[in-house]
Every structure is written in C-alpha cells, then in structure tokens.
C-alpha cells in the first residue's frame, strides 16, 4: 500500500529559484494494483518516486509506504520497496550473482536464503547462462534482468518503477511489462511511471496524469475516457495538460 498526502518537493536552484518538482500530490495505491504515473519530461515523476523510495526527503506533506512513514521510518520503507529506474545501474566489475547477493546481504538476508531465492529468480528470469559473468559486458536485456532480480531478492511488498522501458527494444520492453503484470498477480503494490501512452493503456489499473509537479487528473482508463470524451490516451493527455496550460 502506498499513500501520499499533499506531497511536495521543492528544489532550490541558483538560476531557476524555487522549483516545485512535486506540488501537493495526493494519491493511494492498493495491493494488487498498478498505478501509472503519466507525464512529460520534467513533469516530476522521478522526484515523486524518489520521495516514495526515501531517496529524497519531502519538503511538505507525508507519505506512507507499506505502512511506514517515508520521513521518519526511511530504512523500514526501503526494506519493503523494490526500486527500479533507468538511473539505477549495476556494478560493472561485479558478476550478476555477486551483485544480487550483495543486495540480499544489504537487506539483511542470510546467505542460504539468498542462494535459495537467487536460484528461484534465475530460473524465472532465465539468467543461469550469464549469472557468473561481469555486468559491464552485459547486453541491455541481461542488465535489465539482473536489475529486476536485484529489486526482487528481498521479495518486497511494494514495487516502484521509474520509466523501466526507457531505451529498450520492443522485445525487452514487452518482457518488462509482462514482469510488472506478474508483480500485480502476486499481490504487490506497484507504481509505474512513464511517458509512453500505450504502456499505461495496457498495464495500469489507475492512471495519474502529472504535469509541472501537479497531479492533474486521476482515474481508471475507462473513467478518464468517459470524463474527457476521448478513447485515445494521447488525446486525453493533451486535453488535460493543454487545459492546464491554457488556464
């Protein structure tokens, strides 16, 4: 479960002054649900997700993730979150096995538990062939699988994905989408950010449109279609963001 209440993050920049990267954002994600955060570049997706993952502290507002407060129980939040972003890379000089084992240990798992879990993940993700090779020699697909295994090693209840398909080819991107769906199937709480309309259409139970740090509209695909009288997600998005731009 993820709950955000009036979450606000302000960056102070010398040139740009105060930047409201997330501005009064309120939403809730239930277990077994995929919440899609749809927004253009600079909309505030990464910032919002980083606050939820406790990488950044909120300026105002509160959020609880898996029942823990992001501000005062950050370590417990992280223990229950798997965070996967385009910006979370692998240690190139470690092998996939060493990388995943390291994160298992950081999550307080015992070595036998890590070994058992790794065996299971490696079978599920079809990783056995490159498990003992160094990550810097991996193809993008292998890297993505290793990263997924890294986020799943401690079997977190909440999964946070920040544009996980960025820069991937169709096949790899589809594999990721399938994997996100699997997470929902296992009852995990999932939040997924993207700027690709078709992905939210296919994947998300609830869609939140974010622009300029603000959550402008929220609802299931059917609700949004009905409310804005359009079937195409892109048209809906332009209508919402355009309306905001005009006002």
């Amino acid at each position: 479960m993820i709950e955000a209440h009036h979450l606000t993050k302000i960056f102070r920049d010398k040139k740009r002054g105060e930047i409201f990267a997330a501005n009064d954002i309120t939403f809730r994600v239930q277990p077994g649900q995929i919440y899609g955060l749809l927004g253009a570049n600079g909309a505030g997706k990464t910032t919002t997700l980083r606050v939820l993952a406790t990488l950044l502290a909120p300026t105002r507002g509160t959020a609880t993730v898996a029942g823990f407060d992001v501000a005062c129980e950050a370590e417990k939040v992280r223990a229950n979150v798997g965070f996967l972003a385009a910006s979370t890379a692998l240690y190139g000089r470690l092998t996939a096995r060493e990388m995943i084992t390291y994160f298992g240990r950081l999550n307080g798992m015992t070595d036998p538990a890590i070994r058992a879990r790794l065996k299971q993940l490696s079978a599920e993700l079809d990783m056995s062939e490159f498990l003992d090779r160094r990550c810097d020699k991996f193809s993008t697909g292998m890297k993505q699988k290793t990263s997924i295994a890294r986020t799943l090693i401690h079997d977190p209840a909440v999964m946070i994905f920040d544009e996980p398909t960025l820069g991937l080819d169709v096949m790899t991107a589809r594999a990721i989408v399938r994997f996100v769906r699997d997470c929902r199937g296992r009852g995990k709480t999932v939040i997924y950010s993207t700027h690709v309309m078709s992905e939210v259409e296919k994947l998300c139970d609830v869609i939140g449109i974010i622009h300029g740090g603000k959550l402008l509209a929220e609802g299931s695909l059917a609700e949004l279609r009905q409310r804005f009288g359009e079937t195409d997600m892109e048209e809906i998005f332009v209508k919402i963001v355009g309306e905001e731009g005009a006002s």
Partner: protein, 410 residues
C-alpha cells in the same frame, strides 16, 4: 551504526576495488615499485655516470706560462691531465664541454716565486658540471702540492722546521652508528614518500567510490537498500583508508626488501656515488633503517591517513563525475606535497610552532624518529592534533553523504 552492514559494504568495495586497475596501480603497484626504482634505478645511473666521469682524464689547456717552463713541463707530464693546446676561445670550449678546465699561469710566475712575490694562478671551470669539477679538483691538488713543496724548500733553505708553516693537523671521525646516518638520509625521503603515497592511495578509491558511482549510476541503486547512510559512508570510508594504508604498507615492505637485497648485491656503485656526493660517511645509499623508528612512523601516519581518506572522500563525493573529482583532487596533491618537501629540506627542525602545522609536523617528526630522536612532547602534540583533524574530516564526510543536494547534485 550497524557493524554488520558496514562490513558488508566494506567487503564489497574491497572486492570491487581489487578489480579496478587505477586503484590497484595507486595502492599496490606504484608503492611497491617506487623504492626499488629509486635506489636501483637512480642509484645505478648516478654511480655509472660518476664512475665514467672519474675514469676520464680531463682535458685542460694551459694559458701563458711561456716563461715558467718547469711548471708547464710538470703539468704536461702529469698522468692526471690531458693537456691540449690553448686557443683564444677556451671559455667557449669549456662551455661546450670539449675542455674541462683551463689554468692561467701569470707572466713571470717562476721568477716571482724565487723573488718571494705572490703571483696568482687562475683556474677556469664550469660550475656545477661534474667532469669540469673533477678537472678542477686535480688542478687544485697539483697546485697545492706545488705550493707545499715551495714552502718546504723555503723552510729548508732557512733551516727552519716544517711545523713552522703547519703547526698542527686535524681530521674527522664519525661517531654516528650506520643506521643513524641512514636515518638522516632516508629520514628525509621516507616521510615524503609516505605522505604522497598515502594521499594518492586514498585518492583513487575515493573517486571511484563516490563520483565514479554517481557517474555510473550505481549510487542510487545502493541508496535504495535499507542500509543507513552512515553505514554506507563508513564502509566506503574504510575502503578508502585501506587504499591509503596499503600504499604505505607496500612501500615499506618493498623498501625493506630492497634494503635487504641491496645491502648484499649492490655495495659498489651506490657507495661510491655517495662518497663522491661528499656525504659525511661512505655508508651504503640504502642503509639499515631503525625498525623502532619505522614503527613510530607508521603509528604517526595512521591518523593522517584517516584524514586523507575522509578529505578525499568528501571532496570526491561532491563531484558529479570521475573527471570532475580528479580536477578537484589533483591540485590538492600539490597542497599535500608542499609541506612534505619542506620537511625534507635539511636544517628545518621540529619546534613547538611547527608541531601544529599539519603534514609538515608529520614529515619533521618522522625524520627525527628515523634518526633515533624521540621528543615525546612533540610526538604527543602531533599525534593528538592529527587525530583531531581526522575526526573533523570524517564527521564532515558523514554529513556530506546525508545531504541530498550533494548526492543528487545536477
């Protein structure tokens, strides 16, 4: 603070760093090679050059002396010189190293000697040029002998004792044991090398573990783990410290090995090289090092290594990329080298004020300890102040790591 997590982070960083070529180079390979290269390389080259210079018979020119045939004749017959005909451009020839030196015998030199006048002989040479100095040395020895003989002749003529002109004699005797002499020679260069190697040993892991991780995108991955930031900093810091201390350890290890081998198989060249350089005694270039002094040095260096590790870590953490970190830390290297060089200069000794200057105090106290001098009050001040600086630097590193505008600097 959770020691289990700190150790987990540390062990992973250690494994990762051992696979990084730049870190290996600065923490193991260069420290191991520096002493053997210095002693065998530079020592060997120096002794070869000097021996070659000594084997050469210097070419000299005699200017004037037409009316002093006896002196000219003696110079020509001497095996120590090779007399070449004098030309008007002799100064240019000396500069061009075709001629090592020239000796100007004034007109009426021999007649003047007989008459009791004091004619002056001039030697032309090229200051600082080794072979020219050898030529000058031989010429001066020749003239000194000639003068002594003249004095002896004059005394004999007047039936006076030789002690009239030389009432007493004196000589030098060295009382310092060999390792103390070594302490003064090695004492200068060892602390200097230790300070530089400790810093460069900390510098590369520091950059790799902070700015390097930001650049490669692994910092955010690591921060996603439930481990507290303090534990991450301390684990990483311990790795940087390991780099710094291992640079010192490998340097000392290879120095001891070098000294051991050099003592047995490399007596000749280095000893001569040093004798020529006018050192007080002609002990080996790599003399025995007092092991107690060495232990003292290591103990004094540890808090400074902690400070280096924390400072390098903090500064590199601020940078966004490896390159940026390098551009911050490279100038800092000069700040570190400067006091180390000053400490190496002869004649600068430890006093109460210098004992508070970071790095310079270390350099000076190491020089003393290696030559067997133990000023316990200074040692206490220096150790205490180093620990204090180190604690501040480490606290700063932890604070910096908690700041999101540093970790997520754009």
């Amino acid at each position: 603070m959770n020691w289990h997590n700190i150790v987990t982070v540390y062990l992973k960083e250690l494994k990762d760093s051992l696979r990084d070529r730049r870190t290996l180079l600065s923490t193991i390979i260069i420290p191991t090679l520096v002493m053997p290269l210095l002693t065998f390389g530079v020592g060997k080259v120096a002794s070869t050059v000097i021996n070659k210079a000594r084997e050469e018979t210097p070419s000299i020119a005699i200017l004037g002396g037409e009316d002093s045939p006896a002196v000219v004749q003696q110079l020509r017959e001497s095996k120590k010189f090779h007399v070449v005909p004098a030309t008007a451009n002799f100064k240019q020839l000396i500069t061009d190293k075709q001629l090592r030196a020239a000796v100007q015998i004034p007109a009426g030199f021999e007649a003047g000697l007989k008459a009791g006048a004091a004619p002056a002989v001039t030697i032309y040479h090229y200051e600082g040029e080794l072979k020219s100095q050898f030529g000058v040395g031989e010429l001066e020895r020749f003239l000194r002998e000639l003068r002594d003989k003249t004095v002896a002749d004059r005394l004999a003529e007047r039936s006076l004792p030789t002690t009239l002109a030389k009432p007493f004699d004196f000589k030098r005797e060295n009382v310092a044991p060999p390792e103390k002499v070594g302490g003064n020679l090695i004492g200068g260069i060892v602390p200097y090398l230790i300070i530089i190697l400790c810093f460069s040993g900390a510098m590369y892991p520091a950059m790799d573990l902070t700015a390097g991780e930001k650049e490669r995108g692994t910092m955010e991955t690591l921060l996603c783990s439930p481990v507290a930031r303090v534990d991450i900093v301390l684990g990483k810091f311990l790795m940087v410290l390991t780099g710094s201390l291992s640079a010192m350890g490998f340097m000392l290890l290879s120095m001891s090995t070098t000294a051991f081998f050099a003592g047995s198989m490399f007596g000749g060249g280095a000893v001569r090289a040093q004798a020529v350089a006018n050192a007080p005694t002609s002990e080996s270039l790599i003399p025995m090092i007092d092991p107690i002094g060495l232990i003292g040095v290591v103990a004094m260096v540890v808090p400074v290594a902690v400070m280096f590790a924390a400072v390098a870590f903090t500064i590199a953490l601020f940078a966004k990329s490896y390159k940026e970190a390098q551009s911050y830390l490279a100038p800092l290297m000069i700040v570190v080298i400067l006091p180390a060089v000053i400490g190496m200069l002869p004649g600068i000794d430890l006093n109460a004020r210098l004992a508070l200057v970071p790095l310079l105090n270390l350099s000076l106290v190491c020089k003393e300890m290696l030559s067997g001098v133990w000023h316990w009050n200074y040692i206490a001040i220096i150790f205490g102040s180093s620990c204090f600086y180190a604690a501040i630097a480490l606290a700063l590193a932890v604070q910096m790591f908690k700041r999101e505008d540093v970790i997520f600097r754009t």
